[in-house]
């Protein structure tokens, strides 16, 4: 199991308080908390995290501060140079709602992945997060190509069951196409 997830579950209330305090009156603490968890979990998957508790609190605080800074940097504030385009990249409105939907979807999948047995999860993430081929996964994990495929298929099945039990509706239901090529961002394809 993921250490970050374990710490997150254990200290969820304290983390939420930290987020609330740093967020002030801006934004939804639960969205920020979720974002912080995903960042920390991504970091754990990508390179490992020492001192997961301290790390998670730090990420939660910084995510909240970033959100607050972003939200409070409206032209009404007067403290932002209107000539500066530094903040205009943070879109608000419809885009922000899309991002939030994307985050919820990502969160659902992350939770599903967390339930997988360790080797199954590893293979699944190597394929779906990092876009490795089955041959590369087999090499990486020291198993055969068909074993790699089996792990990933098992991961897919379990994720499907996990999500279905929770009433998740795939957005591309009934679209049995090849998925976007590795490295593609399906979100941005939707937005285009």
């Amino acid at each position: 199991m993921s250490e970050i997830f374990r710490v997150f579950e254990k200290h969820r209330a304290a983390l939420r308080r930290v987020v609330r305090r740093h967020l002030g009156s801006q934004g939804d603490p639960d969205d920020v908390l979720q974002e912080a968890f995903l960042r920390a979990y991504g970091a754990e998957l990508k390179r490992g995290v020492e001192q997961p508790k301290a790390f998670l609190f730090q990420v939660a605080r910084n995510t909240a501060l970033g959100e607050r800074r972003r939200a409070s940097a409206s032209p009404m504030d007067g403290s932002v140079d209107p000539e500066s385009d530094g903040l205009s990249t943070h879109a608000v409105g419809a885009d922000a709602a899309d991002v939030l939907d994307g985050r919820r979807k990502l969160h659902a999948f992350t939770m599903a992945v967390l339930q997988l047995p360790p080797r199954c999860r590893r293979a699944f993430l190597l394929r779906r997060m990092e876009g490795l081929s089955y041959k590369q996964i087999a090499n990486r994990m020291g198993i055969s190509v068909s074993a790699a495929e089996k792990h990933v298929a098992n991961g897919l099945l379990r994720c499907h069951d996990y999500l279905t039990e929770r009433g998740y509706e795939p957005s591309e239901f009934g679209r049995p196409e090849r998925p976007a090529p590795a490295g593609g961002r399906p979100r941005s394809a939707d937005e285009a």
């Binding site: 930290v18 002030g24 960042r39 979990y41 991504g42 970091a43 998957l45 990508k46 390179r47 995290v49 020492e50 508790k53 301290a54 790390f55 609190f57 730090q58 990420v59 501060l65 607050r68 409070s72 504030d77 007067g78 403290s79 932002v80 140079d81 000539e83 500066s84 530094g86 903040l87 994307g102 979807k105 990502l106 999948f109 992350t110 993430l125 779906r128 997060m129 990092e130 876009g131 081929s133 089955y134 495929e149 990933v152 298929a153 098992n154 897919l156 099945l157 499907h160 279905t164 795939p170 957005s171 591309e172 239901f173 679209r175 196409e177 090849r178 998925p179 976007a180 961002r185 979100r187």
Partner: protein, 351 residues
């Protein structure tokens, strides 16, 4: 007739269909799914409605699972905020001098203490220190974020009427939380900076050389403030303060100052240390050496004057001095030797 001989294959288990469907979906996403495979899949799908239904549902989940790629980007969002990673020892990492280790220990305690006990208020005039090669992120009670680069010492004084940082040495980046009632200032021996809702960095080199780079918003920069001068010392009238906006920088050297616009690219180069890298874009070798030396206890000298001005491009991950020396050798033909005293001596490699 015993149960053992009864045939049950006429009604395959639902799970078996789903398992097969998952295998098809997963295999089809791979590189080696050829035309025969497509035909075999078509035949499998033709078996029954349940086969097709299982396949469609799993393919949809698989397509949606591509959202997991975003975890990779999100990990990067957490990166500059993960100083403990840099704390881990790695091969080729420099040895920290005893004094620096002490500073480091203090800084770690402060940092961890803050992480575990996220209190809203902390005592006034708090000191923060980083050793050579260390970086720290500090979140102040007002919500401002301080990122300390290598070899930096500063103290923070928060009160109900002001927020005052004293930069004693080194470099830090400030993301200032808006609070109109409490001005945020950074003071140093070479001048002071007043933030007007903003994000900026200040780097003190020696006593009299201050570099301020503004990423967002505006700041007002004053030459050496009266508090920084020994009492009783009279001085010539100070130059007027300067207001800087995003994308510009100012350098103070004693009473001289130079304001320059900074391109977006140069801005991100100058602030790249926040991500644990130092980027070079054609700087002469001597300033590369000067810059890298900030991050290591190793002494690096250039033995051959003819290579001092050699333009260097590339990036240096903080802590990986050996890798930098290696690429100097490979790419630029500069040899790094170790002298008897342990210093690194750079010279043109023999042809």
């Amino acid at each position: 007739m015993s149960q053992g001989t009864r045939k049950v294959v006429d009604f395959p288990r639902r799970e078996a269909i789903e398992e097969e469907a998952a295998t098809w979906v997963v295999r089809r996403s791979g590189d080696e799914f050829g035309p025969e495979d497509e035909r075999a899949l078509a035949a499998w799908l033709a078996t029954s409605e349940r086969h097709r239904d299982a396949y469609q549902r799993l393919a949809a989940v698989w397509a949606d699972a591509a959202v997991l790629e975003e975890l990779d980007d999100l990990a990067d969002a957490a990166e500059p905020l993960a100083p403990e990673r840099r704390r881990s020892p790695s091969p080729g990492r420099w040895a920290l001098a005893a004094a620096a280790s002490v500073c480091l220990a203090i800084a770690s305690v402060l940092w961890l203490g803050e992480a575990e006990l996220p209190r809203a208020e902390r005592a006034a005039a708090q000191d923060y220190v980083t050793g050579v090669g260390e970086q720290r992120t500090v979140v102040l009670a007002d919500g401002s974020v301080l990122r300390l680069n290598t070899g930096t010492a500063l103290s923070v004084d928060l009160s109900s009427s002001l927020r005052r940082i004293r930069l004693h040495q080194g470099e830090a980046f400030f993301e200032v939380a808006p609070d109109r009632r409490r001005p945020f200032s950074v003071e140093s021996s070479a001048g002071s900076v007043r933030a007007l809702g903003t994000a900026f960095s200040a780097r003190l080199r020696g006593r009299e050389h201050l570099e301020v780079t503004v990423e967002e918003g505006r700041v007002r920069v004053d030459p050496a403030p009266p508090e920084a001068l020994p009492s009783g010392v009279s001085h010539a009238p100070l130059p007027e303060p300067i207001e800087l906006s995003a994308g510009s920088a100012v350098v103070f050297v004693g009473e001289e100052r130079k304001v320059e616009p900074v391109s977006e690219r140069e801005l991100s180069r100058r602030l790249s240390w926040r991500d644990g890298v130092v980027v070079f874009a054609g700087e002469p070798l001597r300033s590369v050496v000067e810059d890298v030396s900030r991050y290591t206890e190793l002494e690096i000298t250039i033995a051959d004057p003819s290579i001092e001005a050699l333009p260097i491009g590339g990036y240096f991950r903080i802590g990986e001095v050996e890798a930098l020396l290696e690429s100097l050798e490979l790419v630029f033909g500069i040899e790094a030797r170790r002298s008897d005293t342990g210093a690194i001596v750079l010279a043109r490699a023999a042809p």
